[in-house]
Symmetry: C2
Subunit: 379 residues, 2 copies
């Protein structure tokens, strides 16, 4: 008998308009799509136990290459048995390439054809991130889904700048692909990143060139960086149709519940965003009836929970008055409960989207849900 | 049929030397003694879910009157159904009187026969804490075990100062008792606090006067405030024998595992201390083989757990390398895991003491355990 080779693959199960229900098979388990990936920047989804992340319904988490290469170091994690064992997450993990964080966190950096040299924001130590090194690091971590190194620039920017960065990202995509062919393990996947700012022509050239290279999945990068909701959706409208139907599509760094609904409506399958946990740490809760600012004094004597219908104990079992007290007092438990409740809400949102697509009622579900979410109780 | 009136009472089950195994009956459940009470200052044991505190084996938690009277306010907690519902802790709760925190946290305060006037360390608002108000607040919170207001002074101090504070605390004990007789509910208990610094004669006068007043339990206060381990134990030696055998004895604000063992050996039944959670937030773990400083670089590549034998997932399932990384990165999960592990260790320690007393081998157990604990692996 031959040993079965682990494989990676996307399968679409149903469609409702352009919205897709599907699943991504990985050696570490299925990812139900549309999927939201909780962000575990430094190998921990902030203020949550890994068991809570899984119980909330997340099939996959994201971790940040930039943070982990600096601390504790990719080689160290490899010696310790890889990122899954290190952070006690048994399901699939997606890692970014580190490029975006270098741009946003490092004041001292130098771009070249080869890659980007930068100084760590932690201790000033010098590092080099090339397409090859980014893949090498992600392989050391043992990431199931890896991302090519790209150059992500702030918007708005001059068209020549956007074009230059897009073209560089294409050459880096090719080099990433070659490195992954050498270093990647069976069942692991490398995704390309479509760049080109908000320019439809640049986005088209980027998408077509990357599709020709045949990646396992395609991300749309360089959005949610200041261009606004409408321009982001217009850009998506132009890009998604150019991507192959048989591969997963990932919108990076997005977003609010409304963003997710609109992107799924356009055929996006995967998301990641720090909003649920970051907002949780700042006293903001997402609920089916809009956002709730627990700092607001109106909650001080409210004995009711965030959401009596939630399956998450944080949203269901603790009073708003107690959450208000914890947030005002700067207590750990406030961040823990709200990050948990928000992580669970995002997973409930994705599950509801999947159910609506399966029953081919996504458009009406989306319209009704967006009305509820817009209530924004106490902002 | 008559409804049974809820009662409070201590029962000694076994003795090993002066060490006592017992149980305190309260309407909210039994407290197995010797007992360690995790500290939930602001109605939360810092960085732990209440379910974790209970699962670790704690029968009772402590909450701080001073913090809760300032935020969210005792009347507010009463309107919300009391402290148990507020913080989701179903077992017994002990509250202190607030006096100690006024002394240690408020720079602006004024003592008088009536009580202590002070300004909140949060917002500068003026408050008055009298023996009557301290009992009233604790009744509003719904505390099962309440403490008299006392004056706790820093050591070393002039004997006349210590005597004056001890005498004032006796008069406040009498007033607390009268207030509690009016406001306390059936099954709730008020404890007196023996004062007198490290002066055996003052301690004796305090203890005898309080015993004559007949309280439900007796605390030894004003220790672990700078006098040192040996002087603390010498003071205990003089006091414990003066307390009635049929009432629980509580050593306030103590201490290290070694402190607890020595105090239990002298007949103390109850303890509270911030050490397990505070040390946890600072990267220090308590284990059966001594303290472990997770900041230390020697843990950076240690794939082993804190304690493979522990029943606590935090101590058993996560690598020291990961804990080191979390602590160095200032991640919430580091504080969460180490506070959890330490809280569980303190409960394991108390359970081991109870077992050793039940089998009348406390002295040999204590000697062996103190040797193991002294290892102090990486301080």
């Amino acid at each position: 008998m031959q040993e079965r080779v682990p494989t990676f693959g996307y399968r679409m199960l149903a469609q409702s308009g352009a919205a897709r229900l599907g699943e991504i098979a990985t050696p570490r388990g299925l990812i139900r799509t549309p999927a939201f990936m909780p962000v575990g920047t430094a190998a921990t989804v902030k203020a949550l136990y890994p068991e809570q992340v899984a119980a909330a319904g997340a099939d996959i988490v994201l971790a940040n290459t930039y943070h982990l290469m600096l601390r504790p170091g990719a080689e160290r994690i490899a010696r310790l048995g890889g990122l899954h064992a290190f952070m006690r997450w048994e399901g699939p993990i997606l890692t970014d390439s580190g490029g975006f964080q270098v741009m946003s966190l490092c004041k001292l950096r130098e771009m070249s054809e080869e890659g980007v040299r930068f100084q760590s924001h932690l201790d000033g130590a010098r590092h080099m991130l090339s397409p090859e090194r980014a893949v090498e690091i992600q392989c050391l971590l043992g990431a199931d889904i890896q991302m090519q190194l790209d150059e992500c620039i702030e918007l708005p920017a001059e068209r020549t700048q956007v074009e230059r960065a897009m073209a560089l990202s294409l050459r880096w995509a090719e080099r990433s692909r070659a490195a992954f062919a050498r270093l990647g393990k069976p069942g692991q996947a490398l995704f390309a990143i479509v760049q080109g700012g908000t320019d439809p022509e640049l986005r088209r050239r980027s998408a077509q060139a990357l599709v020709a290279m045949d990646f396992a999945g395609y991300a749309v990068g360089g959005l949610a960086v200041g261009e606004g909701h409408e321009l982001m959706l217009a850009t998506l409208d132009g890009v998604v149709g150019l991507l192959p139907a048989g591969k997963p599509r990932y919108l990076m760094g997005v977003g609010t519940p409304q963003d997710l609904i609109e992107a799924v409506k356009r055929g996006i399958d995967m998301f990641d965003c720090v909003l649920p946990t970051r907002n949780g740490r700042h006293g903001l809760a997402f609920t089916w009836n809009g956002r709730v600012n627990l700092r607001n004094a109106c909650h001080a004597e409210d004995a009711g929970p965030l959401d009596p219908e939630s399956s998450c104990p944080a949203a269901r079992d603790y009073s708003r008055a107690y959450l208000h007290h914890l947030v005002k007092s700067g207590e750990y438990l406030g961040s823990m409960l709200l990050s948990w409740a928000n992580t669970a809400f995002y997973q409930e949102l994705m599950a509801a989207m999947r159910a609506a697509i399966a029953e081919d009622r996504f458009a009406s579900w989306a319209a009704a849900t967006k009305r509820r979410l817009a209530a924004s109780q106490t902002d």
